[in-house]
């Protein structure tokens, strides 16, 4: 099958959506499909052979943070050329409802279009204002995919219609087969707790974990917290009494291999996120590596953890509850072993072999008897008045 995938965010900036697209693309290529990814990237960044650059993304303030977006004639022309050269049977657009390359591609293409909605942001004022403009582009999408039941619910509330739920994929074998690192492994007296995520992003919840730490260390003085992720370590430690600083170890940005080894080594993996999560891929990765998961009770996390059967949940932002739950887990080796066991069984449905097959089912459902994807010639006023297109 000839497949085109549109990545909304810069290929050279690491992020969940980019990793998802990279893994999906590599999985489908390994199955023998012909595939091309259109992504924003600087023209001089080295790209994998299957990625086509849509030009440099421009940073603009949007929705309270800085988004790097593609717009303008140059990007639109590149999208058209990519559609024309690719002759795709299906194109798969990610995040079509945010002002990004995804929306641009949706606007410019016609034919079998599949779209995945990743985030479940509350509806923004800009979105409401742009709704009449957005709707004609979005109604070209033949199949909508949401990454979780939670994301689907937000999608239905905001845009109407329906979507099928296909979770994000994880290479379970990669995490399950990683070798534990003795430095990061705990003992009965000195267990290790793992945390992976941006240190300076409060929604990842490191401050909550830091507030819980004194109580955990009071009961288990030898315990160590291993933090992987970038950000200001001084600031992260500022709330913690000085004599406890030695129990926190910052590993900085880690490679995929080290991430897998870290997850294989720790006694408990903590995910104290406070919101803004629509899926929780890191929980699936932790479970794949056999790490018992202790996560805040967000809708998305609750669903990934099978309503709490595959991991422990604690009330969001409740540091005391986090400390209690953590101590309870560390004091109960049977429960830890049971969590490792259920977790490893539960994650099989998130393996790329299953998720990739589901996504291919969607492609096949929309391409059944349909013509190929083509550039939509109806969008330009020039075209309407018979103007020639370069």
């Amino acid at each position: 099958m000839r497949i085109g995938i549109v990545c909304p965010y810069s290929w050279d900036v690491p992020g969940g959506v980019q990793f998802h697209i990279r893994d999906l693309a590599e999985h489908l290529i390994a199955l023998g499909h012909e595939l091309s990814v259109l992504a924003p990237a600087d023209d001089d960044t080295p790209l994998p052979p299957y990625v086509v650059s849509a030009g440099r993304a421009v940073p603009v303030p949007y929705n309270g943070s800085v988004a790097r977006l593609n717009f303008g004639f140059l990007s639109a022309a590149r999208v058209r050329r990519w559609l024309h050269d690719g002759a795709f049977e299906v194109i798969h657009i990610h995040e079509p409802a945010s002002p990004s390359l995804g929306l641009l591609a949706c606007w410019a293409a016609q034919g079998p279009i599949v779209a995945t909605f990743h985030t479940s942001n509350p509806r923004s004022r800009a979105m409401i204002a742009a709704y009449p403009i957005l709707q004609p582009a979005l109604e070209k999408i033949r199949a909508r995919v949401a990454v979780s039941e939670y994301a689907r619910r937000t999608l239905v509330e905001h845009l109407g219609g329906d979507a099928v739920v296909i979770p994000n994929g994880v290479d379970v074998g990669f995490f399950a087969g990683a070798a534990p690192e003795p430095r990061w492994q705990g003992t009965a007296d000195a267990p290790t707790i793992g945390f992976i995520g941006r240190i300076d992003e409060p929604r990842k919840g490191l401050p909550v974990l830091m507030r819980a730490l004194p109580r955990i260390l009071a009961a288990r003085p030898g315990a160590r917290l291993l933090v992987a992720g970038r950000g200001d370590t001084e600031e992260a430690l500022s709330g913690l009494p000085r004599q406890l600083h030695g129990q926190v170890e910052f590993l900085g940005m880690v490679s995929d291999e080290d991430k897998a080894r870290l997850l294989r080594s720790v006694d408990v993996y903590a995910a104290p996120n406070t919101g803004g999560e629509s899926f929780g891929i890191i929980l699936v990765e932790a479970m794949s590596a056999g790490a018992p998961v202790l996560a805040s009770d967000l809708d998305a996390f609750r669903q990934v953890l099978d309503q709490g059967a595959a991991g422990e949940l604690f009330p969001v932002e409740d540091a005391d509850a986090l400390a209690d739950a953590c101590l309870r887990l560390l004091g109960d080796p049977d429960r830890l072993a049971a969590l490792r066991e259920t977790g490893s069984r539960h994650v099989r449905r998130f393996d790329w072999s299953v998720v990739g097959a589901e996504i291919l089912s969607v492609y096949e459902t929309v391409t059944d008897g349909a013509s190929r994807v083509a550039a939509d010639e109806r969008t330009g006023l020039r075209a309407r008045f018979g103007g020639a297109r370069p």
């Binding site: 016609q110 004609p136 109407g160 099989r348 299953v354 097959a357 589901e358 089912s361 059944d368």
Partner: protein, 182 residues
């Protein structure tokens, strides 16, 4: 005077562009519904065919075979008005037949069994998918057709008002996506 006429002419041209654009948009939505409906039909037919094959294969016990054959046959032969009910009954029968954990294993042990289970698994998974895509297209078209402009200028032409396809499409829990018993 000429100035007013120019204004009216400009307004008419703009209205014309808008109407032509909306008509094109509606046309594309109707094409999308047709494609989605064809895909849904194909999935339903595939599902009924595999069910019928299983029913006549002699792998299942006689009672299950008869019930499955009957509902699969009814689903394939149903007229448009009875289709939703007939397909829902097939879903219920499939759930009843595959409710027993041993059934999937028994079919898989028979010659050609793994293929049959694979086909059935894919069909029962893709039916709800195709149905969601179809009903999503129907909803989008209905939203546009309810517009005043579309009704006043009869932009939808003679195309029938699109109807959603409502049925019970819950797959048997023993048939998971990777085809192994849970």
């Amino acid at each position: 005077m000429t100035f007013t006429l120019l204004w009216i002419a400009a307004a008419l041209v703009l209205l014309g562009i808008y109407l032509s654009w909306t008509a094109g948009r509606l046309d594309r939505l109707h094409a999308r519904i047709d494609a989605a409906r064809a895909a849904l039909d194909a999935q339903l037919l595939r599902r009924a065919s595999v069910a019928q094959e299983l029913a006549t294969s002699g792998v299942l016990d006689p009672a299950a075979s008869i019930v499955l054959y009957q509902t699969a046959h009814a689903a394939r032969q149903a007229e448009d008005e009875q289709r939703e009910v007939a397909e829902s009954e097939l879903s219920q029968t499939l759930r009843a037949v595959f409710a027993e954990p041993g059934t999937v294993g028994a079919v898989q042990d028979a010659p050609g069994g793994p293929e049959a289970i694979g086909e059935l698994t894919s069909a029962v998974r893709r039916t709800p998918m195709a149905r969601r895509f179809h009903n999503d297209a129907v909803r989008a078209a209905r939203a546009v057709r309810r517009h005043r402009v579309v009704r006043w200028f009869r932009l939808a032409g003679h195309a029938p008002f699109p109807l959603a396809f409502e049925m019970d499409d819950e797959p048997p829990t023993t048939l998971t996506a990777d085809g192994t018993p849970r």
